[in-house]
Each structure stands twice: as C-alpha cells, then as structure tokens.
Symmetry: C2
Subunit: 334 residues, 2 copies
Amino acid sequence: MKKKVVLTGDRPTGPLHLGHYVGSLANRVYLQDVYKQYVLIADMQALTDNYEHPDKVRQNVLEVVLDYLAVGLDPKKTTFFIQSQIPQIAELAVIYLNLVTINRLRRNPTVKNEIAQKGYGENVTAGFLMYPVHQAADITIVKGSVIPVGADQLPMIEQTNEIVRSFNHIYHTDILVESEPLISSTPRLPGIDGGEKMGKSLGNAIFLSDSSDVIVKKVMSMYTDPNHVHVNDPGKVEGNVVFTYLDIFDQNKDEVQELKEQYQRGGLGDVKLKKRLIEVLESFLLPIRLRREEFAKDKAEVMKILFDGSAQTVQVASETMREVHAVMKLDYFD
Amino acid sequence: MKKKVVLTGDRPTGPLHLGHYVGSLANRVYLQDVYKQYVLIADMQALTDNYEHPDKVRQNVLEVVLDYLAVGLDPKKTTFFIQSQIPQIAELAVIYLNLVTINRLRRNPTVKNEIAQKGYGENVTAGFLMYPVHQAADITIVKGSVIPVGADQLPMIEQTNEIVRSFNHIYHTDILVESEPLISSTPRLPGIDGGEKMGKSLGNAIFLSDSSDVIVKKVMSMYTDPNHVHVNDPGKVEGNVVFTYLDIFDQNKDEVQELKEQYQRGGLGDVKLKKRLIEVLESFLLPIRLRREEFAKDKAEVMKILFDGSAQTVQVASETMREVHAVMKLDYFD
C-alpha cells in the first residue's frame, strides 16, 4: 500500500523559534519516518502580505531551510519545496477559484480573524481572501492526506475538502483526495513575556538560531511571578514561563517537581531557576546551532537540497495536473 | 524596432458567426500583416461559467480554430494558443491577485453587468470575479501592447494597466508593458431577428459554418419591416436587417442604393430582396465554408497548429516569468 502523504510548511518571513519546534518541527522529525513527507516553503503566500518586501521573503527561505536541517529534518526522508517553483500550484488554484464563491471565502473564520487583526477592512486584496484556495492547491497538488494543524487552522482543511468533493463531483472522478487534520496535542509554547503565543513578530521568541549570549539575555528577562520579589517569598508556578519551559525541555522531571515545591514554599530565587533553564535550553539548542552553522557553511549545497526537492515536487505535481486536465478534457495533445 | 504585439481571443463556447467576422475576425486578418499577432483560445475563461460542461468547451476549441483558418488567419503570421496549455498565465494571475482589492474587482463595470445579467447575485464565484485579473495575465504574459476591443471592454484594459503600473512600481521595474485599446469602428451586426446584437446563445446568428440550406432558411426568416405586407406597400429601410446586411456584404453599393429607393417607394417584395442577400452571403461564405471543410479533413494537422502555437507561446511566457521572478527575487536557482 502507498504511504499516506503528509504536508506541512512555513511562511518564510523570519527564522523559526522554539514555539515552532514544540508545536510542529519535533512532530515533523517523527513523521518523516512514518509517512511520505513534504515540507512547503510558502514564499508566494508570504508575499500575499509582504509583496512590497520580496528581499525579506527571499532571505528567509534560506533561514527557514537551515532551521529545518538543523533540527533533524532529513532531505533523504522529507521533500522540501519552494511554492513559487511549482507552477502547477497556481494552475490548480486558478481552477479551484471557479468552485468557491466569494461569500464562502468571506465566511472563512480564520481569514475573517486575520483580516480583522491586520486591519485590512474593506481593502483586503483578492490574493489574501483567496489564500485558502491556494492552500487547497498546495495540499492537493501532492495529494496530501494527513495535514498536521493547530485547531485554528481547521477551517482551512474544511475548505480544502469542500473543493475536493466539489471537483470530484463535477468531473465524475476520484483523483483528488480529501485530507484529514492531525491536530497537535502539544500545548502552545508561551512567549518569554508570558504572552499566550510565541511569535516572531511579537518580540517574545527564542529562535533556534539564537546565540548563547542571546539565550542568557532572553531567559533572564523571562516572565515569572511578579509578586515573587524576595528569594524567601512564596512564588507561583502556574503561568510562570520558566516552569512552563522546564516542564517541556528539562529531562529530569523529578528535580523540576522539587523545584516547583521549593518555589511555592519560598526560598528559591528567580535567578537560580533561570540559570537552570539557561543550561537546559543551551544543551538543547547547542547541537541544533552547531548543525545549523555546519549547513550554513555550504549554502550552495542547501540550495541544491531545495532545488532537488522542488524538482521532485514538480514531477508529482505534473502528474496530478495531467490527471486534472484529463478529467477536465483539457488534455488536447495527449 | 520590435513589432508591437496584438492580442485577441475568443471563448470556445460555440462556433463563430458573421457578427464575429464583421466585429473582429476581418480586422485580425488585416492585423496579422501589421503586428506580431497572438490569438488566444480562452478555454479556462470559458470554464469559469461552463465548468460543468468541459466537453462542450473542448469540442468548441476545434470549431473555433477551424473558423479562424477558414477566414484566412494564417498560422505562419498569427500564433494561436490555448489558454490552459500556458501554465505561466495562472502563475502570473496568482501574483496579480495580490495587487488588486476585492472591492476594486467588484467595481469593474463590465463584470458588474455580467453578474447582474447572469443573475449570480451574491453567489458569484471567485473565478468569475477575478477574470479581469486573469485577462491581465493573458495580455501581459505575451507583452500585448495593442488590444482590439469593443467599447464595453475598456474597463478590462484599464484594470490590466492598473496592475501593470502597480507591479512595475512595487518591484522598481519596467518589464511589464501597458497596453492600448484599439477600438473597433465597425457598427455592430444585428441578429437576424432584428436584435441589436448577434449572439450564439441568442438564436439569431448566421454561423460561418452554416450550410447553404441553413443560410436560405435563416435569411428567409429575417426581420424586415413588419408593415411591409404587400409587394406594393412602401417599406422601411432603417432597422430592416436585410438592408443592414446588404450594406455590409454587397459589393455593388449602387444597386443596393437603387433597391433601397424602390423598397421605400413600394414595388419590391421581401422575397426578392432576401434572394439577393442569400446570393451575396452565399458567395461570401462559400469560400470560407470550403476552406473550413478542407481543414476539417485533417484534424491532426489542425491540432498540430494549436500545439505549435501553444509551444511558441510557452516559450515567450517563460521568458516573461523569468523576468517577473527575477524582480520579485524568486529566481532562487538562476
């Protein structure tokens, strides 16, 4: 039996951070041994709201792939591809646009929220409103059937499957496959400021590529318990970001438990606690940083990985388009 | 100096008729000697409102190209291409979608009218609303600079040029060229029922491929002057479709003038008049019909013309996309 196809991806708008690792990258490193895995670098989607900053997008393509390689995604097991290099995605997206009404796109809760957040109001571009359709093309061009997502991304899978059903129904075929969401069970990693979400644009992230010095600085500024002023004051563990991180990254669960109890009783200072987290994060991030530096030495080799992955994807995508054209009677010259 | 590039096209939703000839095809036969001419068979655009009838679109691609060849469009001078076979058009359209707001698309007067006419209301598809963007991609992918249009199509050229200026401005380039409309000076050919416009879906058209018998039947049913009952009644020339057609297709202007006077005085019967028009149309359409039948004998050869034209267009389109990708910094592997 053919392996299921898993697709994930990132918008190359900045380097990846610990939040990406916990929420997605760790899972991808696992999934590459289970499924046929594609990882999409969504440069075209990044341009939908960065169209005036193509340099930024370009530069971050390299940063993002270095992050992938650094955490252990293996080009022998995972196919990396750059969205803009697969013309078949645009072809398929344009076909899908006929199967979706503008009103349906406007009702997409994820897009609706983003339009509100970004303050686009009535000036939303066609490209932005249509990005779920573009995503449906990303997924279906490689026949992705398992899509790891956060709960907030479920409307995207729903839109994709609606399009798949509609296409298959109209053209009396089953060439397109519906995809099932694989919802992450990992709790979201908070920002170092205690904010619910770590985000590159929120200024509260620890990047996979951060140096030791930067990690020290960021952990020392981390949100703990604002009422825990003196070492002997009892402190709160819940909402204390240092403990949240220790829970995730510290292998020694018993010691963390002891530290929590001591902190709650009073007698454990923030500085001591943070020094432990610095050590823990440093031992986690050091090998990642070293691998990253190693790969960064030979950028031509990294670009070759992207080139090869994109070329492989073009082959698969061409085959999908051949099937799509055939059922749409657009195979004039076959 | 490089020749200007002229682009026209048709949606392959039915065979072409005399209205197409008078309004556009005759001009294209002339233009192929003046400019570098592309003729687009817009199958993807036809699918935007025929997506459930791919067979109909497929079949009419062949009909339309037979009409082109029959009227004297010469594949040595004119490059014919099928829209769906040029993936670069979709790529460029998807890029353009970021440069246009949904509100701007909704304000397009041509699209607005069509949405009302077709009764789409709030259920308009994304594909239909964005078709002016797709058209902008059709035009600019071959760097079309002269676009023959009817006055009702001017908003399409305006939208194209807005996108061109916006793209060139954002990416600090001049690779895309604005296009100028070439507005037809020919009056519109009325339908045989006296309706303002001849249309394939209006049931009032004489097709270029109609047989002699069908022409006889259609001309005999033509709208003349409903008050001209007896031969000796004075008749009206204005609004009399037979005279409108004679004015256009009868080479002997003096005789037509005499007939008009006789008709207005009374003493000229509709049947006699129609027999003259039948002769005139038959002598105009016979060579077209014969050429059409000749080409239709070797469908493989006709498909080869389409294949070669599409392949040539892909080459030009790839070059345009190479330039587009370069200014957008998407030329990772060059």
